[in-house]
């Protein structure tokens, strides 16, 4: 999968409260949530972001709440992926589970400016800054997570585990 769009760059510790404020946590619909994505960090984000754009951020992106709607809101706003120096752990899991592509790449973050055009090959983790011509490699996911993503996400994995358990139960 190739992701290609404009980079919207933010700093450290972008927390889930600014990704989707608590006052909108009574929403479930991705499109409705998307209308408020990053509202308290950058009120113009939703206006300026085009579908397929990417977020580039410093360390600890997505810190704070376990609210899965944070990942969903970004997807709802049309964000194709997030490149950061590091991710907070619950947000990291939520992205894998909801299918929002994320890439850990400290050099890439330093080598991308706000507004640069970037292209990310989600399969091999290559991040290319089309504006400067520089290329970066994201940290690989551990094999287990790669398999989870390849299988189509956590719920497909659960379905397979349920089948395994059922057949093990039948044998026992």
């Amino acid at each position: 999968m190739i992701l290609s769009g404009t980079a919207h760059k933010y700093g450290k510790n972008v927390d889930t409260d600014v990704i989707i404020p608590g006052r909108y946590c009574n929403l479930i619909d991705p499109v409705e949530l998307g209308r408020h994505a990053l509202e308290d960090l950058d009120a113009n984000f939703v206006k300026k972001a085009k579908p397929g754009d990417l977020i580039v951020a410093d360390t600890n992106f997505g810190c704070g709440s376990s609210r899965e709607v944070a990942a969903v809101a970004l997807k709802g706003a049309g964000v194709a992926g997030v490149v950061a120096k590091s991710f907070a752990r619950i947000f990291y899991r939520n992205c894998i589970n909801t299918g929002l592509p994320i890439f850990e790449c400290p050099q890439g973050v330093d080598g991308i400016n706000d507004g640069d055009k970037i292209t990310v090959d989600a399969d091999n983790g290559t991040i290319r800054n089309e504006t400067t011509g520089k290329e970066f490699r994201a940290t690989q996911f551990p094999p287990f997570m790669q398999e989870l993503i390849a299988r189509g996400g956590l719920l497909r994995y659960v379905e397979e585990r349920l089948k395994e358990k059922a057949s093990a139960g039948e044998r026992a």
Partner: protein, 429 residues
């Protein structure tokens, strides 16, 4: 001989059916309890319905559902989320559903009902699920799809965290509580200082901490980015388990030669009452240095500081005093049991006489939901756990985190200050 392990590693190994685990291993663990509130449950239930082959939850007795965040429901949208969870509890025969009026905030309710214990593995659809590390459990917060998967399987995959040991040396000064220690710790580590890791709280000072203080400190492990925070199990833990009727648990102790990623020593003797300034919990100062910061609201309670011991600390300061004319003080006992205890001990009367709002248990203001949302430019001193931008309302409102003593003293002063500053102000007056 299995390799020497920390308490966290031992619990995880035992629940993965392994003799030992090492940091970085990706394992699947069996879960002893899966918790959700109305916000995380609504999404989890939606996801659970999508799992082919899953019509029933794996074990209704090991699931707890607690409406807490926007309760009593503030609008139709949140009432709908609560209804989804309530209906699911009925459909799936989940008995551990804590209706409002019989429950409260999950992280206060579950321990006091004997639902969490040492050596257990607990996940919750709330980042402050780390609270249960206070009793010596492995407990961590996850998102709703992970909760849906756990509803179906009773299992979760995770990466074994490396443990950071925090050693609390010295002794506590007057009016310094567990909240001050954890704020100091987060300042020391940074908000991502323990990212993906485990925190183990040790040392002479924590040995003397009541279980309520341990819950307060474990609660905020996530604010340093940690996966879990855990306390050694000792006589205090055992006494608490006996008091709440928690039985059949396994005690795991860290091996003496266990490997730690890092050891941080905190000299508690030098710790004063703390306040974390906007916009991060690591942005900590001494309360005594902040007397020029006026406040318009004070919140005392929540999953971090909503236990009876916290209510007693606040009441000790507010007794016979009046909340400053320009301050709204909102006291929120963490559960119906704590609320009831406040009445029995006369604390409720102290709060009401002082001019506080005494609220039914709710997460309300902490998440900017209801029951104390802030307007443009307003400041709140709060015993909650997050002071992110817009956390409690308007994007230009501010939250200052502290413990119950300072929150109560500030409510009376009208500006930030601890009990010592309040005493000094009385002398001047």
């Amino acid at each position: 001989m299995p390799r020497p392990m920390t308490q966290t590693e031992k619990i995880l190994a035992a629940h993965a059916g392994k003799a030992s685990v090492s940091p970085g291993d990706i394992i699947s663990i069996n879960l002893d309890l899966v918790m959700a509130n109305e916000l995380s449950a609504a999404v989890a239930i939606t996801e659970f319905r999508k799992i082919k082959g899953a019509t029933k939850v794996w074990d209704p007795a090991k699931i707890a559902l607690v409406p807490s965040h926007f309760t009593p429901n503030k609008d139709i949208a949140t009432a709908t989320l609560s209804k989804m969870m309530r209906d699911f509890a009925t459909e799936q025969h989940i008995e551990n559903y804590f209706e409002i009026g019989r429950g409260g905030i999950e992280h206060v309710v579950l321990p006091e009902n004997g639902m969490v214990g040492p050596g257990e593995t607990i996940i919750g659809g709330d980042s402050h699920t780390t609270t249960y590390g206070g009793i010596g459990a492995f407990a961590t917060g996850v998102g709703s799809t992970d909760i849906a998967a756990a509803f179906a399987l009773g299992e979760m995959w995770l990466r074994v965290p490396a443990t950071t040991k925090i050693v609390y040396e010295g002794s506590l000064q007057p009016y310094v509580s567990a909240k001050d220690l954890i704020l100091r710790t987060i300042a020391e580590l940074g908000v991502d200082g323990a990212i993906y890791g485990a925190l183990e709280y040790t040392g002479p000072v924590v040995r003397d901490l009541p279980i309520s203080g341990r819950f307060t400190m474990a609660n905020m492990a996530i604010e340093a980015g940690a996966k879990n925070g855990i306390f050694p199990v000792d006589a205090v833990t055992e006494a608490y388990c006996a008091a709440v009727g928690k039985k059949n648990y396994t005690v795991y102790h860290s091996d003496r030669d266990a490997a730690y990623e890092r050891t941080v020593v905190i000299d508690c003797t030098s710790v004063e009452p703390q306040v974390a300034l906007p916009w991060l919990p690591e942005n900590t100062r001494n309360a005594s240095e902040l007397s020029d910061i006026d406040i318009q609201q004070a919140v005392i309670g929540t999953c971090t500081n909503g236990r009876i011991e916290d209510m007693r600390q606040a009441a000790e300061i507010l007794k016979g005093q009046k909340v400053h004319p320009s301050v709204r003080a909102i006291v929120i006992p963490g559960s119906q049991k704590v609320y009831s205890q406040c009445l029995k001990e006369g604390l409720a009367e102290i709060f009401i006489d002082a001019g506080c709002v005494l609220s039914t248990p709710t997460c309300g203001p902490c998440v900017g939901g209801h029951m104390g949302v802030l307007a443009d430019g307003e400041r709140c001193i709060s015993t909650t756990n997050r002071n992110f931008r817009g956390r409690m309302g308007h994007v230009k409102s501010e939250v200052y985190l502290t413990g119950p003593y300072v929150a109560a003293a500030s409510a009376i002063l009208g500006h930030i200050g601890g009990p010592q500053q309040l005493e000094a102000a009385k002398v001047v007056a």
